[in-house]
Each structure stands twice: as C-alpha cells, then as structure tokens.
Symmetry: C2
Subunit: 320 residues, 2 copies
C-alpha cells in the first residue's frame, strides 16, 4: 500500500513538472533530483493523514507533490550549505551543475509547490489555513537549518537547543505534511493536533535513530560507521557525553578539534556505549515513537491511521 | 502621496519582521536588506492597483510587504549569482555574511511572504487566485534569472529572446504587484487585464530605460557611464548593434571578448548614437510607456489610477 501510494506520488510529480521544461538550466536539475529516488515519506504522510481523518488520499496528490517539492528545495539548498558532494549515490545539483543553478532551481521549486498546493486546497473548508501551513513550514525549516549552522560553531550547546534545532530542521516537514493532509481531509481540531504531534514525534525519533545508526547501524554500501564523529557532528549523544564526561580527553578533543580522527572513532563509540549514552539515545527514540503512536489513538481506526503507524515503524525500526 | 505610502510600507515591513528575531544569523540579513533603502515601487503598485479598482490601499499593506519580500529575496539570491559586492552603497548580504547565510535568508523571506499575503488575501472574493499569482510570479522571476544567465553565454541571442527574458526577470514582479493589488481590490476581469499589462509595460520600459541611462545618464555618485559595455551586458542596444553592424570590429570585440576595455566605451556609445540605436531604444521606452498609460484608461479615473501614472512617469523619465 505504501509503495503503491509512493508510486502515485512519483507519477504526480512527473505530471506536475511537465509544464516546466524551459529554461532547461532551471528545470533539468529539478527532475534530476526526483529521478535520484527518495522514499516520498512526506508525500505519503500527506495522503495518509488525509485518509486517517476520513478524506481520500487521491484528492491530495498535488499537496503531496507540494510537500515533496518543499523537501526537495531544502535538500538542494542544504547540500550547497553543507558542501555535500553526493546525494543518493549521485552528484548533488551544485556539484553536477553549479551553485548558481542549485540556488535558482531550489527557488523555483517553492513556486511550483505553491502552485500545486493551490490547485487542491479548495477541498479544505479553510483553504487559506493550508497555505499558511506551507509558509510556516518553510520558515521553520529555514530556522532549523540556520540553528544547525549556528550550533556547529557555538562553544556550548544545550540539549534543549539541540532538540529545538532538530524539531525544526528534521521534524518540521513531517509535521507540515501531516497537518496539511489532515486539514485537506477536514479533520477536527483534536485530530489535527494529534496528526501534528504525530509528525513531530516521528521526526524527532527518526533523527535520533539516524544518529544512532551512524554509530552502530548495519553496514550499508560500505558506509563507514561513525562518520558523524569524524565530522564533529554534535548529536544528542555527543552533547550528553560532554555534559557527563567533561574531563574525558577524547570528548574534549572531539569538541576542541570539531571531530576525531578515524582511529579514535571506535573508542568514542565504546565510550558512549559503556556510559549508557547509546542506550539512552535508543530510549529517546522509543519514547518519541510511543508519543507518536499514542496520537494515532485520537484518530479514527481506519486504513489511514493503520498505515501511518506502519510508516512510522518502517522509519524508526530500520537498521541501515 | 507616493512617499507617504512608501513610508507606510516600510513601517509594515518592520512590523511584519518583528516576530522573526531568532535565529539572528537568519533574520538579521533580512532587516539589513530593507534598512538599505529601496523605493518600494512594487509595494506601492500593490496599494495603488487596489485603490485604482476601488479598494483601500490600507487593507493591502501586508500584500505590499509580501511583494517587497519576494523582491528582496530575488535581490539577495541574484546578488550571489551575479557576484555583486555592493547594493545600494553597502556590501551585499553574501559579502557581509556568507553565501550560505544569503541563500537561507533569501529562502526564509519567501516563507514570510506567503504568511503575509495569506493574512490579507481573504478580502478578495477569490483568495486562492491571489496565492496562485504569488507562485506564478516566483516561478517566472526564477525563469527570467535563468534565461539571463543562459543568454549571457549563448553565442546568438535574438531580440525576442531578450524581451522574453526582461519580461520575466524585470517586468514580472511589477506585473505580479499590479495583479495582486487589483485582485485584492476585487477588480473586474478587464481591470485586472489592464493592470497586468500596465505593470508589464512599465517593467519593460523601465529596463530599457535603465540600459539607456547606463550609457547617457546623468552622472550619479561618480558612477561610470557605460559600465554595461565594459561588463559585456547584452542589452537590446548591443543585440541590435550586432544585427545591424555585424562587421564592425568594435561590435565583434564586444561579443567575442564579453565586453570592451574602458578606453573603447566612448567609441561604442558614439557608434550606437550615430546609427540611431540609442534613439530607437528611447523610442522603445516611449512605446511601452504609451502602452502602459493606455491601460490606465480602462480603469476608473480616481486617485489610484492617477498615482499609478505618476509612479510610471517617475520611473521612466528619471535621468539617473
């Protein structure tokens, strides 16, 4: 079911992009990004959230496309800012073309997103609230990325600041997806509230799980474990290590030198393990997952809400 | 009157940005851009277009802010792409901070623009059409910038391609401003059509006038005349020179070397003058201005339409 809807979203993305062929330097990178794959998690969440409150996921495909466009725009721009050369096994847009092309192609995706969302939001009893949600999502995703860049160079980062950052940078778009889907299905205030918290909780759990998998996940395509430690990424686990093990030489080096050499990575993973920090991170994942599932009890028990649970399980119990 | 409304827009911009203080790295550049000045022509056009069809310009201040935000976003991103170090006498955002900051601050302005427009578009009988206009404007401005970059490296550029480019890059935002203002004032289809064509015609006239002033304008703050010729900018005049004077050595050099040395600039200006190309460019400005004024006849004769004419005159008859 989830795969079938993802395929429908892919089809809808192709259809939505059809009118936008020229100038090729603007639009080719947009189709390139989508051809590179992606699970369409956010688009699926739009459809399932709509279905969960009694709407038809077929009616909200343009909104699913809009949210995927918003997501794609953040990927292209974030890849420039993070100087990432590779995404999904292929050169990122700014590497394949140029930074200028990547800036502009990202920009135009927001325009198409507005147009797509516009084309289906009349099915909501409050279409303007749906539009507002898109604007709010865009604003907060930008705030999340800005916070991420600020925290990367700030000497002391609190756990609260960290969670505020991932709530915006990672979780906000899942929240936006669920909120927009629920609004288009004309869910009640309580249902919308539950869907919003569901999306946010899944997003936070997903990010912390991602950080854990970087250290102890199954090897994927020869991906090196502990890359985040080498890069100096300030995950919750590293912030917690600093708080608890401030005098540890390895922890000190990590923060002083913005990362460790690859030789020191296994020792750092061991340190996080021995001190129970890895376990606690997994507990955080479970807690947020639990919060997410509890929200689903507020929704009618139907295929939409069942599939939302299935989607969350798939995301959070993955091992790679 | 125009200045008073511009001041109200500036006040409304400040109010709109008030909730957006943190993260400072994201929002400081946004206020920095607006503090740098600007005539708020696009915002004024929103208000006057609304007034011209019988609406109250006070009601559409958030929409004026939205269009100014959209404009500001294109300035910040275009400055990165064009590697412009200075805007309005101050360092551009990417020079003062960084390209990453400029990308992200531009992005967030679109989010605030959506939010602002959302807050007042309910006064239209078709609020979603107003939203759609913003999306369409954003898309076409991006297309214009992409075309500009494509044409800069393309061996042969036709006059049609050139006008298509400036219609999107320069004129589209004025068109968007007039269309949104007219829609919010609930103008008739004929009025909206007239306002749209008014904005587009003023935009084209403005751009060609800008190119003429670069060659023969009054000296402004020691600005050097003919900078466009040094930079190799393919204005309508240079494209026309190529078409008519293909064998001229100076014209050849301009296109082969992407610009001329400053010593050759006076001779090129003289060449454009002698061959009547400068005169014809000024005729193009007059023609489009005339088209713009004719549109105003379709509108009720009131303060709004009178001020639209005054605004167009100010823009097009400027000498610096």
């Amino acid at each position: 079911m989830l795969t079938a809807y993802a395929n429908q979203i892919n089809q809808a993305i192709s259809t939505a992009l059809q009118p936008y062929g020229a100038p090729a330097s603007l639009y080719h990178p947009v189709s390139y990004l989508f051809e590179g794959g992606g699970k369409r998690v956010r688009g699926i969440m739009v459809g399932l959230s709509c279905q969960a409150v009694g709407g038809d996921p077929q009616d909200v495909l343009p909104a699913a496309v809009a949210v995927e466009l918003l997501h794609g725009f953040t990927l292209i721009h974030d890849d420039i800012m993070d100087s990432s050369p590779i995404r999904r096994g292929r050169p990122t847009v700014h590497m394949k073309w140029s930074e200028n092309v990547a800036i502009l192609s990202g920009d135009v995706m927001m325009g198409i997103a507005i147009t797509e969302l516009h084309s289906c939001c009349h099915i909501s009893t409050d279409p303007l609230a749906v539009i507002k949600e898109l604007g709010k999502g865009l604003i907060e995703v930008c705030e999340g990325q800005a916070l991420d860049m600020e925290l990367a160079i700030q000497p002391d980062v609190s756990v609260t600041q960290y969670f505020n950052m991932i709530e915006k940078k990672t979780a906000r778009l899942l929240e936006t997806a669920c909120a927009i889907g629920g609004m288009l299905g004309n869910g009640s205030a309580a249902e919308l509230n539950a869907l919003t918290l569901f999306g946010r909780s899944v997003g936070i759990a997903f990010q912390v799980q991602d950080d854990v998998l970087d250290l102890i996940g199954a090897p994927d395509f020869g991906k090196k474990l502990g890359g985040d430690i080498e890069e100096g990424k300030r995950t919750w686990m590293m912030l917690e290590a600093k708080r608890r093990l401030a005098d540890n030489q390895l922890v000190k080096s990590f923060f002083d030198d913005n990362g460790l050499g690859s030789d020191d990575v296994p020792e750092m993973i061991q340190l996080l393990h021995t001190n129970g920090i890895l376990d606690e991170a997994q507990q955080i994942v479970r807690n947020h997952t639990q919060t997410a599932y509890l929200q689903l009890d507020v929704l009618p028990s139907n295929q939409g809400s069942r599939l939302l649970r299935e989607l969350a399980e798939t995301l959070i119990t993955r091992t790679i």
